[in-house]
Symmetry: D2
Subunit: 282 residues, 4 copies
């Protein structure tokens, strides 16, 4: 699939401020960047970096303040996701065989307190044998028990809040999904992305579970087809993949995000319990 | 300094169980392993691994269960810490100049909810200019306001609990120190270690703050001199550096830890506000 | 029913300490005290009191400390519970018609954060029309989703913890039941009691929901028949009905509780969805 | 002092809804209502009630919905507060001598988790001998460590949040003050009121501590003089004294509150460490 993605964010900066943005599409085996451009107004020196254990292209810049500034990113990206038959995944990859770099995605994190949810996870989902079906059951449970409501939560909301409050946004749905997977010893990680057909247009978040050696995408919000995603970053949770981290004093003025298909045909891919096909975008 | 360290842990294993142990001394510029041995009884295949973004030598093994088993690790380690004058550290390394791999240590984590403690941190410590003095003030505040009591907390206790409950163990003291540093945009990480003169002998935990390009060691418990440490691992918090992670069903039967100096002389190094010397063990 | 109840608690008192005990059986329309005795060793002046809005006979005494002391309460109590047909209770008593003294049992309290559980309660139980069936469904849900494990929680554990941790004791089962009722605008209150056939013998806690003008007893633990209870106190939650409140410095040494039937016959009363009979002990 | 108070609240009611309002000035030894009027538009049957253990005049009414409605309360109230010399209050009234009805104000409540703050309270304030000075120190600590910011918290915010977040409104300042008093075995209760000179005009909340047999008023916000208050209700915390409790479906449209002196002279009363005078409005 080919997508044209774009995001524009503007700030009023009232003091010297360092920004870390996480809005670039990543490069991976299944995601190729055909063209991209980054425009800053006013122009500022920008540095791209990544860090160990995270998959994301962070850009960092510093504004001296007392000015507005706008960052605009646009790209044409080709995604080649894999569809993987999940019927045979009758058990989790044993921890004894997990690659070392996968292990941290079993650990609890700031917004995914999986260590507190083990009994709940086992009671609700422990008896399901097929791993894909198990994670799908988690995703369905979240969809059926948590209300999606814009603006209902904030940057401090974590999975434990969502379990009790039963309301949230895509970020919260993903955190709860990740937490329940880790509670069952299924590695899971956070995913931020652009998403075609998302209404209203915005950045989106969902999660990936590690099943049979592949990272399979799940979205408990059911807001978009899974093959509409253009990946920005993976991380343990939102703490690793914030769209913007601000060190100083700046107020966001405006955010515009768009994601369109760059070709005529688009056949949406949705889950299907009967087909048992998982989508991977590694 | 030369130290002889040893740890022995035994389990009753009632089902097939995978263990991940984090008890080896790490190799680094300032820590050299002269000899080491790992003995398992009964003998089991063991694999050593590490993961991106973590500094630790994890060993993984699998017991088929219905048996006891004991892991014994011993080593002679030479540490060459640096003493660094902190008088000139009048500001934090700007985020704009931090190496990418340092950035994650600014993020909140499972047991260090720094995002919730920013106002508290600024109110209490924001006015202190010298960064080393600032972290030392954090360390003193914890020592003076939190009671050290063995067994008072558990593996789910996080910094927010310690701020209200005001009681904990070395792990909790470290988590609170890390949280308050990150709340002030000072990178901070968790440290597990063996510690000479620790009474009763056990594994120990403290934290490191990133000041002037060096990771400086701080210990809010004041239980041991800072140059008595032999480092096992660094991580974002205890979620990254658990002594043992157990996937299956095993009960710990016995833990023995020892750390002795392998030479005659040992001059303890303690903080000293006047000297303003920081100890680094990178 | 006639019951012989008894409780003996002994303390080592190391400083002048005031105790408030809440171990007496209450007098009510449905509970008559035939005989009772309170023995203190050494003898201390004791004062009985109650407070507005609470149903309990508190006794207060002061030990000068540096001594052991033992309180022993025993009584023969006759209970005359009512069995009330619940088939017609098709809606909650409207708040507009509730007696003023019932209203506070709609409010959230220390251990019953009903304000945080409204969506959960409506999602799980909102569609059930008959009020008694609704509270029975809450009780069953707790029984099926929360593990009863002695010593798994402490005096600070509240309903929000139980919702996530899914483990607790009778106190926690009651707090969660109360919270879910209040979240659905059903008045609910905490109940402490002696309980015949409880194993191991101890004080017990369950809850009452206000249905059709009567306080109906529910016990999500299913540990004892409902007609085995001898009521000690009602309150908003355990904060109002602690067995012992200690102001000073005393260590509990030993607790013995017993509750036996004082007659030959005892026909246990359990819930029965078909019969739809509720038990009231007002 | 004579005050003219008034409050007007209007709602859009979309379904049959029962309202419980808590906006009337209470009658007490120190507060006399000279005139008052309650106007409902459209007119609805209204019932006044109170409940055991609470001091407040609640009014209850039911709207059939699909209509707007407005409640307007106005009154002229004379307050006769007492000024009590606190220099001799060298210890808390012993629990052994407290009237039974005072005891519940020692217990933790929904928004005042005093059981979790005992060590913090003792560390910070335990050494202060004079009880009034102790509560004044608590009040000053809150003023100095918690930022007052309108809209920063919501109806679920409790003292434990305020201890970590260090931001809140009058309600949160009161809850934290109450919690710290109870943690030190000083009975404390919540107070809602009208307040002369409060800017912007609104309902106000502060707290009372039981010192030397009197309920002394404290206000950690320092927003208004203590003799500017007209009391609406007391309770364990905001759960007992919400301005409006809504059972149904109604949206608040507008709230207007005013409190003016009905006489020429008004001499503001503020705390004064030197004078050690406490104000009581029982």
């Amino acid at each position: 699939m080919k997508f044209n993605i774009q995001s524009t964010i503007s700030y009023a900066v009232s003091a010297p401020t360092t920004f870390i943005f996480n809005i670039h599409a990543i490069r991976s085996n299944s995601q190729k960047i055909l063209t991209e451009s980054l425009v800053l107004d006013p122009p500022l020196a920008v540095e791209e970096f990544s860090y160990n254990g995270g998959a994301g292209r962070f850009v960092r810049l510093k504004s001296e303040g007392n000015a507005n500034f706008t960052i605009n990113y646009s790209a044409t990206v080709e995604t080649n996701y894999a569809i993987i038959d999940q019927r045979q995944e009758f058990q989790t990859v044993p921890v004894a065989e997990l690659d070392g770099d996968i292990i941290p995605f079993l650990f609890p994190s700031r917004y995914c307190q999986s260590d507190k949810l083990q009994k709940l996870a086992y009671t609700e989902f422990g008896s399901i044998e097929n791993v894909y079906s198990k994670v799908l059951a988690i995703t369905d449970w979240i969809y059926n028990n948590v209300e999606y409501r814009s603006g209902s939560t904030d940057s401090q909301t974590a999975a434990l809040d969502t379990i009790t409050d039963r309301v949230g946004v895509c970020r919260d749905f993903a955190h709860l999904g990740i937490s329940l997977c880790r509670a069952l010893s299924i590695p899971a990680r956070y995913l931020t992305c652009y998403a075609y057909t998302l209404q209203p247009p915005d950045f989106h978040a969902c999660f990936e579970a590690y099943i049979g050696g592949n990272w399979i995408v799940f979205d408990a919000t059911r807001l978009v087809p899974l093959n509409s995603l253009v990946k920005i970053a993976n991380g343990r949770d939102a703490a690793d993949a914030a769209v913007a981290s601000i060190f100083g004093n700046a107020m966001s003025q405006n955010i515009q995000v768009s994601c369109e298909v760059a070709q005529d045909d688009f056949t949406p891919f949705w889950y299907n319990d009967n087909l048992m096909n998982g989508l991977s975008l590694q």
